[in-house]
Symmetry: C2
Subunit: 277 residues, 2 copies
C-alpha cells in the first residue's frame, strides 16, 4: 500500500492510499479518515460508497464528514467506484457503465468479468487491507453511500447483516435491476437473465428473504433522478412487507448533489455511531 497524500483534518488524518488490487487486477485508490480517538486504540469503521462518475475524492472533498467522524470516533473509508485505467474495458462517454460505474457487483460476462469485481473488492480485499494497515475495529462496521453507492450499501448490508451494525443511504437506487440508468449495466455485467440481477437489487433481496434490522434513507424531493432512477417508494414497500424498520426522510427542495449529502452527513454518521458503540 502506497500513501498518496496525508493531511491533518478535524484533529484526525485524512489520507489517500493506493494499492495493486488482486480482485480488480489494477491499482485502486481509496481515502481513509482516521479520527483522533484511534491514537488510543482501534475504532469502528464506516464504509462510504460513492455514486456514478465518482472516485474516492468526491466525498473526501465535498462530503463534510470529518467533523462528525472525529466527534464520534469512527474511521471513514471511501473506495473508488470501479476499476479504471489502461487495459480496463470501458465505454467512453457512457457515465452509467464502466469506469466510475462498477455498481458494487462482480461481473460474470466477458470482457468485464476479469476486472469489474467491486463486490469482492469492497467486501473482501479492501476490508482485509484496512484491518492490516489501520487502527480499525472490524467487529464494529457500518456502511452507507449515495445513489449507486446507496444501492451498494443496501445490498451489502442485506447480504452480510451479521457484519454491519448500521446501514444508511443518501438517495439510493432502490431497484437498480429495473431502473433505466442501471438495467443496461446489469445486463452487460451479469448477463441477460434477470434472475442473476436479484442478488444486486435491494428490493429484490428483501423480497427474496434478506433482512437488515434498521435502515436510514434521506432523499431530496428536487432530485432529478427521483422518479425514474431512485424510486425510494419501492424500498419503502419492500421494507414494510418484510417488517424492516426503514426511516425514509423526504427532504423538501434538495437535489442529488453533495450540497444535499453534506447537509445530512452528520445525521448519518450519528445514526451509525449510535449503533457502533
Amino acid at each position: 500500500m502506497e500513501t498518496v497524500s496525508k493531511a491533518r483534518a478535524h484533529g484526525g488524518t485524512q489520507g489517500v492510499y493506493k494499492h495493486d488490487a488482486q480482485t480488480t487486477g489494477c491499482p485502486m485508490t481509496f481515502a481513509v479518515f482516521v479520527p483522533p480517538q484511534a491514537e488510543k486504540g482501534p475504532v469502528p469503521v464506516l464504509w462510504y460508497l460513492s455514486g456514478l462518475t465518482c472516485t474516492h475524492a468526491n466525498v473526501m472533498d465535498k462530503g463534510e464528514y470529518r467533523k462528525a467522524a472525529a466527534d464520534h470516533g469512527v474511521i471513514v473509508v471511501a473506495p473508488d467506484t470501479s476499476p479504471r485505467g489502461p487495459g480496463i474495458p470501458d465505454e467512453e462517454g457512457n457515465w452509467q457503465f464502466g469506469s466510475g460505474a462498477g455498481f458494487y457487483l462482480d461481473a460474470t460476462e466477458a470482457p468485464y468479468a476479469k476486472n469489474y469485481k467491486m463486490w469482492s473488492y469492497v467486501t473482501e480485499e479492501l476490508p482485509a487491507l484496512i484491518a492490516r494497515e489501520f487502527p480499525a475495529d472490524l467487529s464494529r462496521q457500518g456502511i452507507f453511500g449515495h445513489s449507486m453507492g446507496g444501492h451498494g450499501a443496501l445490498t451489502i448490508a442485506l447480504t452480510y447483516p451479521e457484519r454491519f451494525k448500521s446501514c444508511s443511504a443518501f438517495a439510493p437506487i432502490a431497484q437498480p435491476s429495473t431502473a433505466g440508468w442501471s438495467k443496461p449495466a446489469f445486463e452487460k455485467y451479469l448477463g441477460s437473465d434477470p434472475a442473476a440481477w436479484r442478488a444486486h437489487d435491494a428490493t429484490a433481496l428483501i423480497e427474496d428473504g434478506k433482512r437488515f434490522p434498521e435502515i436510514l434513507v434521506d432523499q431530496g424531493t428536487a432530485d432529478s433522478f427521483l422518479q425514474d432512477g431512485l424510486r425510494p417508494w419501492l424500498l419503502e414497500e419492500a421494507c414494510k412487507k418484510a417488517g424492516i424498520a426503514l426511516t425514509l426522510n423526504m427532504r423538501e427542495g434538495y437535489d442529488h448533489s453533495y450540497f444535499f449529502i453534506s447537509t445530512f452527513m452528520a445525521d448519518h454518521i450519528a445514526w451509525a455511531a449510535a449503533r457502533l458503540k
Copy 2:
C-alpha cells in the same frame, strides 16, 4: 446577473452567479450562500477571499462553511481571485501571477491595469451587486480569507475599518511585498517602486498607521509556505507595536490545504457572527 446554479444546502441556498463586471472588463463568477434566516429579512454578509489558483468553487466545495453560516444566519460570498478568460493578459504556467492570482489590488501597470482591478471589484462593484440582488444587510459585514485571500481580507479590513465588523484569516500572506511568491506579482501589477506596494501589504499598512480592532488568524505548523511565504510573526510583531488585538493560533500538524481551512472554518464564522450581531 445570471444564475449559473442553485442548490438547497443546510437549510439555505448555495448559488453560483455570473455577471459582466465593469471593473475587470470581463465576466466574473462568484458563489453566494444565503442562510435560511434571510427568508425573514436581510442578514449580515461575510466575504471569503480565496487563495492563489482558486476560483469561487474551491471554498464552496471544500470549505465546509454552510452549516456554520446557517447556524449563525450569515450570507457568505466567495468571489473569484482574478479576471480570467480570453483577452485577459496572463502568464501561462505561472500560478503566482495573472489568472487565479489577482492579489486583491488594482493594477497600475500595462498590460494588467485594464483588467486586474480586483480591489475595486471586491470592495465596490461586487458589494453593490450583492446589495441589489440578495437579502444582505451591508451595515453588517465581515471579511476573511485564505493565504492570498487572507492578505486580501487583512488589507481591505485595515483600509476600511468602518465598513467591517470582523476580520480573520487562514494562513494569510502577512507581508506580500517582500515574500518571494508575491513580490514579483506586485512589481508587475504595481510597478517597481516599493512605496506603491505598501497599500497592499498588511504589515506595511499597520506600520503606516492603519488599524483594525481585533484580528483572528489560524496557521498550520506543517504549512509548507509558512517560513518563506506566510510569516505570521511579521503580522504579530506589527500588531503588537500597534496595539491591535491579534489572536494567532498556531495549529500543530496542519498544512495549507482545505483540510486545514475546513477544520477551523466554524470557529472563524462564529468569531465573525459574534461581531456581526
